[in-house]
Subunit: 313 residues, 2 copies
């Protein structure tokens, strides 16, 4: 299939490489950051300098961009994708596959604008990180018309292992935001549980080990907390400012739909506070610092955590 790709960053570059590997013809949009473009050209991609011209020559167009404004501009700008989206009668319409995490409402509005030009837009947020993108094992949730989904499916199967059609436009973004609000609430609740344990004279590694074997167990508690909150190593795997952005999008979406968002609102406020205190570029687990600063002590495990406190039986 002739496929265009806009946004060959951390996630986009390995996804475009997977499409090439699967035998698709891939054209990428030119970009000031030459390195990823040059690497893809070496793997057989072609390059085009305007989004409208790129859209005119492909059947399927991926966008993989950081935020609402970037997606809006690349689609609706004067030389943007939609300016090259119209097709002569009888020719199949352009399908735009937007992998960015943006507001469901923005995606729905852009889908309307695409339809006005005879094109279709799918929201297709991805989960699995850069490692998943490189391995071609991403989970992709897709919102939009079943017909557009079927046309995009062969390409999606080249970048991901689990592809799910979730519902109409914006539906996949709603699920992605729901996933991330649950993650954020877990991080806050775990920080409170560890702070309560520490203030009660319990080593946080002991508390984590017990909870990780009990009903509080989760991916976040069992796999993310030990290497972050318990060590004090808060180098970013997923930046705090990105999780805060997603919480804001979830909150706005819930407000628009009349969904009460008690936990989401509270957790968004805490992440906003943490970002205001300069922690935006740290890992999202750095929310624990709000509690550490209030307690005046670290919640990283004590040096002697591995001695006598192992389970005896």
């Amino acid at each position: 299939m002739r496929i265009g790709f806009i946004g060959v960053g951390t996630m986009g570059e390995p996804m475009a490489a997977s499409l090439l590997k699967a035998g698709h013809s891939v054209a990428v949009l030119a970009h000031r950051n030459r390195a990823p473009v040059e690497r893809l050209l070496a793997q057989g991609a072609s390059e085009t300098t305007a989004a409208a011209a790129l859209a005119a020559q492909v059947e399927l167009l991926f966008t993989c961009l950081p935020n609402d404004a970037a997606v809006e501009q690349v689609l609706t700008g004067p030389e943007g994708v939609l300016a090259g989206a119209e097709r002569p009668t009888g020719q199949p319409s352009l399908v735009i596959v937007d992998c960015s995490t943006i507001a469901p409402a923005t995606s729905q509005r852009l889908a309307e604008q695409a339809r006005a030009r005879g094109a279709e837009l799918l929201d297709a947020p991805i989960s699995g990180g850069q490692a998943g993108a490189i391995a071609g094992t991403l989970a992709v949730m897709v919102g939009g018309s079943p017909a557009a989904y079927q046309r995009a499916l062969p390409a999606l199967q080249a970048v991901g292992r689990s592809i799910t059609h979730v519902g109409p436009n914006g539906a996949a973004l709603a699920v992605k935001l729901g996933n991330n609000l649950v993650v954020a609430a877990e991080l806050v609740a775990i920080a409170e549980a560890l702070a309560l344990a520490k203030a009660s004279g319990v080593d946080t590694a002991v508390a984590q080990r017990i909870m990780a074997a009990s009903t509080a167990r989760s991916y976040i508690l069992n796999e993310r907390v030990p290497g972050t909150m318990l060590t004090g190593n808060l180098a970013p795997a997923f930046r705090l400012e990105l999780l805060r952005k997603d919480l804001g999008l979830a909150l706005e979406h819930g407000m628009a739909l009349g969904v009460p968002m008690f936990a989401t609102a509270e957790v968004h406020q805490l992440y906003t506070q943490a970002q205001g205190l300069g922690k935006g570029a740290l890992d999202s687990t750095a929310i624990v610092q709000l509690y550490e600063e209030a307690l005046g002590q670290s919640l990283a495990t004590a040096a002697d955590a591995d001695d006598a406190d192992q389970p005896d039986a």
Copy 2:
């Protein structure tokens, strides 16, 4: 070992049975509810009519009671455990193993009162449910002196599979409350994520399936939500009013120690609201009804959830 047991209810009866099976001599306190007492007598237990007399004849005494007031009364009442706790010089002191989930501060105060009579008290909250108690596979967290812990260990190994000495008096209760506050925050956040999905036109079973394979995965989301929130079957496995009680204990404990409890406070308010609306005897997952009532629709999965929305790849 000569062991006493007070509170042979849902959890206590199978625990006392495990102690008998392991060859310990078990004396139970008489109780108006004859059935569990008679069953234990048939397995070789003896019966005593006053807590003080029971305490006088054993080395180790388990209490397994519903709340702070019940534990306080059975220990410090006129014919209570502490009235029979003193030992002649040279004889080993009485060790009280309290498996109830109560306030850490109450447990610490009772431990002081026990010490004043020459006895020791351990807080030993349990995790694993009635099935774990019957199978003898409970997880037991223990707070209190290392010496008392060592004396109780052989008996604890007869009732549980994972026994952990967590720290000083009240420490084990702090970890248990931390575990349960994380569980409650997850239930609230999951209800918000499912409500957001539903309001966006996504079947909640599809949303659950995607999140259960992504970073929001947890025991609660993957193993508790499908049979409860997604079916509308809210028959109690763990009653909402008990989780609300634990949230209140966690909040009070955090307040006393100067620990910020943003999520715990919010979630406690939501559980208080749900209990006020008459949901206390339902399962703790019934918190989802607050969201269903606000949306005016059920979040149980649609009848047609199993058709075309399975992952395609």
